[in-house]
């Protein structure tokens, strides 16, 4: 019991949930993350569990401070997400959520690359059902593309692991060199999962197509597993700073013109992941603490924002900015929670984003990355603009769309309230979170300079928004799709693949005809003795016996002669 992997409690516990019904199931599924969390808390520090397979010694459980903080937040997220999903009667989704969360926890507790790979793949496999479960043609295709991208990432990881193991002689999951072939492939595999620029499109494509609860669940785990993996393997790799900066900067342009509000949030996710990736790239203790803390806070406020949008989708059946507006009248609590999430992601003082993002920016400034710091400042203003203002504004305020609906179900409101409390709690009592972080360093987020400059940045961003809207310069919400990298594989790539396949199929058909002729001439002869009208098919295989004896005799003669 003492070395039981908490991940297994969730993964194996998910199966009985299928058989339970009603309140009993609700209590059971809520209890699982609690039990698992208790198990995590009682694990002694530095514990290892091992398992031998295919001649490799796997370390299936390895607890260090970085994995601990990720495991903690994954548990909190799992609990909130299960609570949020209680309204749905779709048992598949709850099961997928539990297994997915369990795999994410298993991945951050993995001590070697093979275990990590297995949990990564299992997470991909369980999570894709949250997309398919929406049961629309669009979600069917998006889920397929999502899975294919995850499998590609898995194949890169697998190949990378094999190469790395060959060159280093070890499969231990620890600091790696991205300059070696194995390291480079592993880097790329994590990069896909972490939505690096040009590799990011699976996220923007698939997440908004998931179910009401599915999108929230997806937002919590996969990308943060990747951040954890990068922080463990590639901390201090300078190229990550530049990759991260690109991630913070380019998605906000898309976010401004995107109509689907859940897609706006996925673009904003890439922006936030960019901050974490920059933190990993800087790689100092402060930066890595910042990455871990920001991941922690980000999971909560991003989940809160997605939850509020999920509630809107559930109640109105719509999620496009062009169809919504004025919903604060029908869904006041949801609107309130959304604003708290928006304030947190925008890093208002007293909200969670303020106390975590500043660590990363502080680290960038401290290490003298001037340009990086400026880009991050731009991205901070931008994130307020599209997540902080755009999301609540177009959904709950703006012009009244005339939609009147019910407030979100009680279970959803509870989940959002808890997430909101945590967002504010972290903002007000940051040292509680800091105590969980990998490194013990004194960091004080609340200084006069920091508070005032941050407020200046945010309120003048708000001023810009107000001015643009009142001047009529703000781009209207339009029903449209915006081309992104997926265009390459969804249009020309698809065309090429289809044509290549058609010619291969046609060629094979031709070959088939030729082979059939050949085999027919041989087959017909045998068939005469052996066919359905032959003796064999009716009673006893006399036909085949004759053939057999003749055959053996022939073979024997050949051998005899040769010998």
């Amino acid at each position: 019991m003492s070395s039981l992997n908490p991940a297994l409690i969730l993964v194996l516990g998910a199966l009985p949930a299928l058989a339970l019904k009603g309140h009993l199931r609700a209590v059971y599924v809520l209890l699982l993350p609690v039990l698992s969390f208790l198990q995590l808390y009682t694990l002694p520090a530095g514990i290892r569990a091992e398992f031998e397979i295919l001649g490799m010694l796997l370390t299936t459980l390895h607890l260090d401070r970085l994995s601990f903080v990720f495991a903690v937040i994954f548990h909190i997220a799992a609990f909130l997400l299960i609570l949020y999903s209680l309204h749905t009667r779709d048992r598949l989704q709850q099961m997928a959520t539990l297994i997915y969360a369990g795999c994410a926890i298993g991945a951050v507790l993995a001590g070697d690359l093979v275990t990590l790979f297995i949990y990564f793949e299992a997470a991909a496999l369980s999570s894709v059902f949250l997309i398919w479960a929406r049961r629309t043609p669009a979600s069917y295709g998006a889920g397929m593309r999502y899975l294919i991208v995850q499998v590609i990432s898995g194949l890169l990881l697998l190949t990378g692991i094999i190469l790395h193991a060959r060159s280093s002689g070890s499969i231990e999951f620890t600091q790696m060199d991205p300059g070696t072939p194995g390291g480079a492939l592993i880097f790329l595999a994590f990069g896909i999962k972490c939505a690096f620029p040009l590799l990011h499109n699976w996220l923007v494509d698939a997440y908004p197509q998931a179910t009401v609860t599915g999108t929230v669940v997806l937002s919590a785990f996969t990308t943060k597993m990747a951040v954890y993996a990068l922080a463990t393997a590639f901390a201090g790799t300078e190229i990550l700073i530049w990759i991260g900066l690109l991630m913070t900067a380019f998605p906000i342009f898309y976010a401004v013109i995107e109509n689907d509000l859940r897609r706006v949030l996925t673009y904003s996710m890439i922006n936030q992941l960019g901050f974490m990736v920059v933190g990993v790239g800087i790689g100092t203790e402060l930066a890595l603490n910042g990455t871990a803390a920001h991941a922690f806070a980000h999971i909560l406020y991003k989940a809160l924002l997605f939850m509020s949008m999920g509630a809107v989708l559930l109640r109105t059946g719509r999620i496009n900015g062009s169809d919504l507006g004025g919903l604060y009248k029908s869904m006041p609590y949801t609107a309130g929670f959304c604003v708290i999430g928006a304030a947190s992601i925008s890093a208002f003082p007293l909200f969670s984003g303020f106390v975590t993002k500043s660590m990363i920016m502080g680290a960038a400034a401290h290490e003298g990355y001037t340009l990086a710091w400026l880009v991050l400042l731009f991205a901070s203003a931008g994130v307020f603009h599209h997540s902080g203002i755009k999301i609540p504004y177009f959904a709950f305020f703006a012009h009244d769309s005339g939609i009147r609906c019910k407030e979100a179900p009680a279970s959803m409101l509870c989940a959002m309230a808890l997430a909101a409390v945590l967002c504010i709690g972290i903002g007000v009592f940051p040292q509680t979170l800091y105590a969980l972080l990998p490194y013990q360093i004194g960091y004080q987020p609340y200084s006069l300079t920091h508070v005032i400059t941050q407020l200046q940045l945010l309120f003048f961003s708000a001023l810009a928004f107000t001015w643009l809207v009142r001047q009529g310069l703000y781009p209207p919400e339009l029903r449209s799709v915006n081309l992104d990298v997926d265009w390459f594989y969804r249009k020309p790539g698809r065309w090429l693949a289809e044509h290549a396949m058609q010619s291969i199929v046609a060629g094979e058909q031709k070959m088939g005809v030729w082979i059939k002729k050949l085999s027919f001439s041989a087959g017909t002869r045998l068939h005469r003795h052996h066919g359905p009208q032959g003796l064999l098919a009716k009673t006893w295989p006399t036909g085949s016996m004759v053939l057999w004896v003749a055959f053996l005799l022939g073979v024997y003669l050949i051998f005899y002669y040769v010998y």
């Binding site: 013109i257 400034a365 400042l377 931008g382 003048f460 961003s461 643009l468």
Partner: protein, 84 residues
């Protein structure tokens, strides 16, 4: 509650205007605060008067106007991929 009669506070344009003026005032006050405290900074340009305020404003306007131009390049019909 009779929905037709109920008017929310934000439904009145006057109230919206009050909010906007409130924002203007708050911004002005925040800008002026720069006179009254000593900034602890990492980079020299942070000490410029109202640096963060200007930066925030210009960044957002540039962001929106650029994104608007980007639409010309990337915007397509909603059913462009044929799966809606």
């Amino acid at each position: 509650m009779n929905r037709k009669k109920h008017r929310y506070w934000l439904d009145s344009p006057d109230n919206v205007r009050k909010l906007v003026y409130g924002l203007y005032a708050l911004c002005a006050a925040l800008m002026l605060l720069d006179f009254f405290y000593h900034k602890h900074t990492n980079f020299p340009f942070e000490n410029w008067f109202g640096f963060f305020a200007w930066f925030g404003f210009i960044a957002c306007v540039a962001l929106v106007l650029l994104a608007k131009q980007m639409r010309k390049l990337v915007k397509r019909d909603e059913d462009y991929y044929g799966d809606v």
